[in-house]
Symmetry: C2
Subunit: 362 residues, 2 copies
């Protein structure tokens, strides 16, 4: 991508998000191959890209279906032809949502997460009979949503009692996002899922799908326990994944193409700020993002339309008008800010993809 002339008139004015399609294709194929080699189903999380064209490519490469975070995302991907969707979220089912779930279930195999007896009962009362299947969410250490692993059987039984089929159990090992935490989190993921699956079996319910996986933990996923992986970020990767060691620089497929507009001392200001890159910055991150091809540079401050980039000693100072490629810390957040992604293939512009599920938060 570094040979691309982003100042060419075929490109929009900066800042814009750009996907290197070759890198992305390689990322998609690598994860598909890894899952297949381990005997695991792959159900990529589409919240990362929100793009039907990319989802189709993931399905062509063997994904069993997609994971989504919201009903709105599910509707976009169902409309784009995806017929197997897992809404991995403990929805509160209002009458309006129940109608949307039934409509979706008429068009696609639909799984929905539940993490409590109450949630299972409410979902059953609202939509039993429409074909929706339940997947029980368990907490493997991230301490967000999810029931205790040994309560999974009780929650599954509540779903059955209220007319819902049970497809299995899942967890999100989000606590793997930290230096040195990927391996331990994958271990806790496997332990929690093993307990949850045993809890279902003890209740006389087949364990079915045992679903885990995030991009950082995917490489360490325990194929003796899991049957399914749900990574999302791997399609593009981002600065967090580079800094966590779960990908290399050559695996970064999405950047914010930005222009130097000002400079002072050893810092330059780019025209891509938090309204393009997102503001995610975990405590362990080295800054507000990274710069492709300039590994020593650091984004030391982000405001809405300014990124302050410290240029390392020994590197020639970029000049006003120079174009750099900033790597967002968290690509899911960056993509959700953009209405379209500019695609580059072989260094040349290759059209755009609409971020069709952008902003579909409800």
């Amino acid at each position: 991508m570094d040979q691309t002339n982003f100042a060419a008139p075929e490109f929009p004015s900066t800042p814009f998000l750009c996907v290197d399609a070759e890198v992305m294709d390689r990322n998609l194929a690598a994860m598909a191959g890894r899952a297949a080699a381990a005997g695991l189903s792959l159900r990529p999380h589409a919240k990362t890209h929100k793009v039907p064209e990319i989802a189709r490519r993931q399905l062509e490469l063997g994904a069993v279906g997609l994971t989504v975070a919201t009903l709105g995302e599910a509707e976009v991907f169902a409309a784009a032809g995806c017929t197997d969707l897992f809404l991995a979220y403990p929805l509160w089912v209002t009458p309006a949502r129940a109608a949307r779930i039934k409509s979706l279930a008429a068009r696609a195999a639909l799984r929905i997460g539940v993490d409590s007896v109450e949630a299972a009962r409410e979902l059953g009362q609202a939509v039993a009979g429409c074909g929706v299947q339940v997947v029980v969410e368990v907490d493997s250490g991230h301490h967000r949503s999810g029931c205790r692993p040994d309560d999974a059987g009780t929650v599954a039984q509540a779903a059955l009692d209220h007319g819902l089929a049970v497809a299995g159990v899942f967890t999100f090992p989000g606590h793997g996002y930290g230096p040195g935490k990927r391996g331990p989190a994958a271990g806790q993921e496997a332990a929690a899922l093993a307990t949850a699956a045993a809890s279902l079996v003890a209740a006389g319910i087949p364990a079915g799908t045992v679903s885990g996986g995030s991009t950082p933990t995917a490489a360490d996923a325990d194929a003796g326990v899991l049957t399914e992986l749900r990574p999302g970020v791997y399609a593009f990767n981002d600065a967090q994944q580079v800094e966590l060691g779960s990908c290399g620089w050559d695996d970064v497929a999405l950047t914010a193409v930005a222009t130097v507009v000002s400079s002072t001392g050893r810092s330059v200001i780019l025209d891509a700020g938090s309204k393009v890159l997102g503001a995610d910055q975990p405590a362990w991150a080295t800054g507000g993002g990274r710069i492709l091809g300039m590994p020593g540079a650091r984004i030391t401050a982000l405001s809405e339309h300014h990124a302050t980039v410290a240029i390392p000693d020994g590197v020639p100072m970029p000049r006003r008008g120079d174009i750099l490629q900033a790597v967002p810390n968290h690509v899911c957040a960056a993509v959700n800010l953009a209405d379209e992604l500019v695609v580059v293939r072989d260094g040349a512009p290759a059209g755009t993809w609409a971020v069709a599920a952008r902003g579909r938060n409800n």
Copy 2:
């Protein structure tokens, strides 16, 4: 707003952003009154709301024009009928941008920021003669863009030398965003602008507009130096402003309406995460946002679709299905994530406003 029944079928499913129009109107009138009483022009920054309906109300209340951050925003507000725009950003002027600037300048009085001799020359070479005026940006301590205050006359002279009229000087006292920093930042703003204005006068150039102001520093703006204020956030306010003491809870006009979907111990999970609230969290903030009507609650973690809220002891635990109103840390970031804002007046739904300039980053 707390009497509003957000579960009523007239409202969309949560999460969504909601504006209390009465609170917003009061905020708009208060800032307009404060500026008028101080003899200052008000040029609100429209990047906060991105909504033409709100911009029109600001202009009806006496604003001299709008401030914007990008050409795309300027185009949206020009199309909505605003005829006086200040693009407070050191643009890199490509041929494509030059054409857009000329088109805008034919429809509206247009001012553009420059912060170096090079930027002034380049802008003049690209668009001199179309009527654009330059405002010289100076650094008052935020250390982002902006030249040294005593270089302002040199930059202004470069603009004149390249065929551009000079409208004045401006600064953004962004270093006022911190506990105890509002007053000192306002003092530095006034000192920098006074130096910059004197630098123009020493070069034989009238100081013209002397523009400063942000929501935190507006109350302390020095009317003996400034002639113009450019606050943005004041229209809605947010958790940062509450925590900085620049507004009270009753001045918060925008919230993310969200449903409790899960709970554990003394925490609940809301269905509004960083894709609704934004991820801005300065080091001094007490969390990822606040909860309206529950000042002791803290958002202890944000992921894309989950906010973990610690409920204070003594407060009844919200239950699954309860609706809460989360106050974003940084309202500009939250609004930029939404395609529309739901409006409430007298506690009842009163339509929606399109976030017309959302995502117009270039």
